[in-house]
Amino acid sequence: MRVLGIESSCDDTAAAVYDSAGGLLSNVVASQVAVHEAYGGVVPELASREHIRSIVPVVEQALARAKTDRDDVDGVAVTAGPGLIGSLLVGLCFAKSLAFARGRPIAGVDHLEAHLFAILLERCVEFPYVALLVSGGHTSLFRVEGFDAVRLLGGTRDDAAGEAFDKAAKRLGLGYPGGVAIDNLARQGDPSRFAFPRAWLSKDSPDFSFSGLKTSLRTFLSSAEGRAFRVEDVAASFQEAVVEVLVGKTLSAAAREGIPRIVLAGGVAANSRLRDRMEAEGSRAGVEVFLPSRALCTDNAAMVAFLGERRLSAGRSDGLDLNAYAASRFSR
């Protein structure tokens, strides 16, 4: 079965083709495509209007790269939520129209759920595993027992880790989005130079909190010590405070659940320090760590096509009354 996946839950418009036999055939994200240039370069990244402009060229490109004609698409998978309703509706309406016009089944996929299984496009991972989903909008731990058996173990009480990076970067004058800028600068910095607080919360809590860290950076930058800093050291130290908590809490969760497998997912899973420390500390603890490639960490439609194919192959499709939703059943 050949499934076209469509994703428009946030800033990027994405489409991909996944085939039961041939695997992932194409994976296109609008921000990597020249379509933006065709509309005058800088495009406000957030507008659902931009999704409307991008969706047709992105889907066509995904089909072309997969050498797949529209008639050869056996099913359509689309992100139904969570996300910005206006953005989601663009992908959803397009997917529904296509499914209706071609008489093909459609599957609505949860964006967070799709991230949790993205690793399976690249690696074989035995169930169950503990997954850390960490991005600009989410920081949550899950126990993944199988394709329809996911349990939320804990999540952030305030800010997401990616948001903490972005806000710190802005505060340090590194621009937005800042996660990558911090990652790069931190390589030339000393992660133990400044002691930013680690929010462990109560012992064994699977929850996260990064709001206090944000405030402590502000306090630090207005202090005497903070005025004479090397920005590389601040970036490295700040990143270390975030990464240490992410790694520590994920390993504790794996130990508590008695599961020796950890999977990273989401945009912040591309952070090099997080990847290095998770691998090193995982191997010390006897836990196998699975890291998706960068293209599968950030938002993509490959994971949507993949999960949709699983569902449609099992004969489980949605009706054309499928609707977008803002809040996920995989968050609180």
Binding site: G137, T156, S211, A326, A327
Partner: protein, 162 residues
């Protein structure tokens, strides 16, 4: 209608939540609360308190910076908006913000500076400032109505020196 302005002092997250709960208790459909203040000033914490009064569990209220708008089903529809990532009113219009601001729910707006002219006249403004060492000053301005007076009366313990 004339507006009233008051300065409150909060010395902890708990106190900020208490002030927010008191405000939440007097909100009605169509209210817009604009929350201004630096990173870490307490805007999202404040939203947790307002949400609690409207029957939304505080743990569900987290920073909406990434998603920009989070909608909660409380006693009234509660829209938690965060415009940190937006750079113009045009972008705000593109995501349908005007409909939310003029809708039937209660709307909490973090980082409202980018859409000042879109804010309704009856908007309640809360401005957070840092006080040394760990306190916050909350400057609140709103239309002078009986329900806002009721809210201010509830906040008497947080008047500076009070």
């Amino acid at each position: 209608m004339s507006r009233i302005s008051i300065d409150l002092r909060s010395d902890s997250e708990g106190e900020t939540i208490d002030i927010a709960r008191a405000l939440g208790a007097v909100l009605v459909p169509g209210d817009v609360v604009a929350l201004e203040g630096e990173l870490g000033a307490g805007k999202t914490v404040f939203c947790k308190g307002v949400g609690e009064s409207l029957g939304v569990s505080p743990e569900r209220i987290v920073s909406p910076t990434f998603t920009i708008v989070t909608e909660h089903e409380g006693a009234l529809p509660l829209y938690h908006v965060d415009l940190y990532r937006l750079s113009s009113e045009w972008e705000a219009a593109c995501i349908g913000l005007e409909e939310i601001l003029n809708g039937e729910g209660v709307c909490l707006v973090e980082w409202p500076e980018v859409i000042v002219s879109l804010l309704p006249k009856h908007c309640i403004k809360v401005r957070f400032l840092f006080l040394e060492p760990d306190g916050r000053s909350l400057n609140i301005t709103a239309e002078d109505t009986p329900r806002m007076r009721g809210f201010l009366f509830r906040c008497k313990p947080y008047l500076p020196g009070g």
